[in-house]
Amino acid sequence: MIEVQHVTKRYGRVTAVDDVSFRVERGEILGFLGPNGAGKTTTMRILTGYMPASEGRANVAGFDIFEHPIEAKRRIGYLPEAPPLYPEMTVREYLDFVSRIKGVPSAERRQRVTTVMERTHVADMADRHCGKLSKGYKQRVGLAQALIHNPDVLILDEPTAGLDPKQIIETRDLIRSLAGDHTIVLSTHILPEVAQTCQRVVIINRGRVVAVDTPDNLTARLKGAETMYVQVDAGSEEPGPALAQIPGVTRVSAAEGPAGGGFEVESDRGTDVRREIARAIVTRGWGLLELRPMRMSLEEVFLQVTTDETATPDPAAPREDAIHA
């Protein structure tokens, strides 16, 4: 549905996007992840035909965005970083205007406006002026605007920025429900968002693509060793040496955390030592309170691929409190 080939964008001597290539299949949600200034917005602007690339090609919904911009734009819905609202128009007037310039046939216009207002939960603000809306509503009207002509491709630049937690969940659900019918590219710097909504992730840093994969594969690929978190009630005894003796275990270290008796047990990649750990603890008469695999969080993956010094990820922090929006 979207094919980007060797796209480069230079502003004078600054290269904002450097030889970026990726594909998005029909119905897929692709997450665009990167630190601020990495080139996410520039790439999206090139894809939507807002600005041309210095080099490379981009094909969106079957049309080359540089050679047939009008045809391609008909099939793209775009939510820029700042929702492009006219403050003096009411939400309904605004969506009607957008439906006109996006080429929605006049017979369907009213119906489309009503439908997208309901889908994005802005119907209660239909007659309010866009300039008087809260940040959350502005963002959702921006999303409504992108959906108005029922485009094949949706390009969303930070769709959940400025929303409160409840709205973030609603918006993510909405985006997920749109996949299938629409092909979606969304950018974000909120990592759980990618893990929760996207099927594939492109990590971009300093204008270059540094990784493309599914969120699961990314976390798995960069994980050097299997790590288990074990919490043991060993009474007065010290369980560390006993755990280290289990075949396959390479390293045992005490985990930080509020509860005592927590350990991180590393083993060779591909060997599952959970049974052995459980047996070792139970046969000694200790209490096994918790045993679960620790995975590298997307945040750690992100830090690893975007930092020049390839520091070994610190798996000390349990996954749950590592990432929160």
């Binding site: 964008k9 502003y11 904002a16 520039t42 602007r45 939507t48 035909g49 807002y50 600005m51 041309p52 009008i70 045809e71 734009k73 008909r74 793209i76 775009y78 820029p80 970083e81 700042a82 929702p83 492009p84 609202l85 006219y86 403050p87 003096e88 128009m89 007037e93 205007f97 957008v98 006109r100 310039i101 996006k102 080429g103 605007q145």
Partner: protein, 258 residues
């Protein structure tokens, strides 16, 4: 390829923008009042003059079109010079500042449709301004018996001159994000085009001729006399076309620069 529907959608949006804010009402209202004041002053002057003529029993005829309408329209042109930058300064600058330009440029619209839409929208507001002044002209028709053709020609001249100002104003607005800069630059350029023929004398006859042909007021003069000369018509229409063309180039180059 270019769709009138798209142009009208943009023009409608522009007009809505003008009329949703106090801008349109203030501009139309003040323009109407100023025009009215000039009108009354001219009328008084004209009545005094014709009475004096009558008392002296002179055979010289007085012409309401030549001595009354013409100066009023010329004064109106001066007011338009001041007012027009306020209309055009926000057209592109505001879209750039608020980011709505991203919506327009990523919609299936050609640059030409966007520019024409903005031009037509501003012309719409300008027409509304001129319509208000027709009240004064209607009063004149009640009182006297002026010729309508020269008046129509004069209004056509004003409309064309306004079109030039708008196309130039759009161009300048497309160059900057800052409305104040856009407004002031537009005003300065208008003023230069206004007085350009004043410098003609020092350049000899050829220079004088060239400059007076460039002057936006010299071209208006014949219209206010009631003459529709193709030279002036060509001047105004090509001025408008050139301004819109440069605006298109400016928007396009903005795209490349990002």
């Amino acid at each position: 390829m270019h769709s009138v529907r798209n142009i009208l959608a943009i023009a409608g949006k522009e007009l809505r923008g003008y009329f949703a804010s106090p801008i349109a009402y203030i501009i139309i209202g003040l323009f109407g009042i100023l025009f009215g004041l000039f009108f009354i002053a001219s009328l008084r002057f004209f009545v005094e003059q014709s009475q004096r003529m009558a008392m002296m029993g002179g055979s010289a005829t007085v012409n309401v079109n030549e001595q009354m309408i013409r100066p009023v329209l010329q004064n109106a042109a001066v007011i338009i010079l001041f007012v027009m930058p306020m209309i055009t300064m926000r057209t592109y600058s505001e879209e750039k500042r608020s980011g709505t330009i991203e919506l327009l440029l990523t919609s299936p619209l050609t640059d030409f449709e966007i520019i024409m839409g903005k031009f037509v929208g501003a012309m719409g507001l300008f027409c509304a301004m001129l319509l208000v002044t027709l009240i004064d002209v209607a009063i004149l028709f009640r009182l006297g018996n002026p010729e309508w053709r020269p008046i129509a020609a004069g209004y056509l001249g004003l409309l064309l001159m306004g079109g030039c100002f708008i196309s130039l104003g759009l161009l300048i607005s497309s160059l900057t994000k800052n409305q104040v800069v856009a407004g002031f630059m537009t005003f300065a350029v208008f003023l230069v085009l206004w007085i350009v023929d004043w410098f003609g004398e020092s350049l000899g006859p050829t220079g004088q001729d060239i400059l007076s042909r460039l002057s936006i007021t010299q071209n208006l003069d014949d219209f206010t006399k009631g003459m529709i000369d193709t030279t002036h018509l060509a001047y105004y229409l090509s001025f408008i076309a050139f301004g819109l063309f440069l605006t298109a180039k400016s928007v396009d180059s903005e795209r490349w620069r990002g």
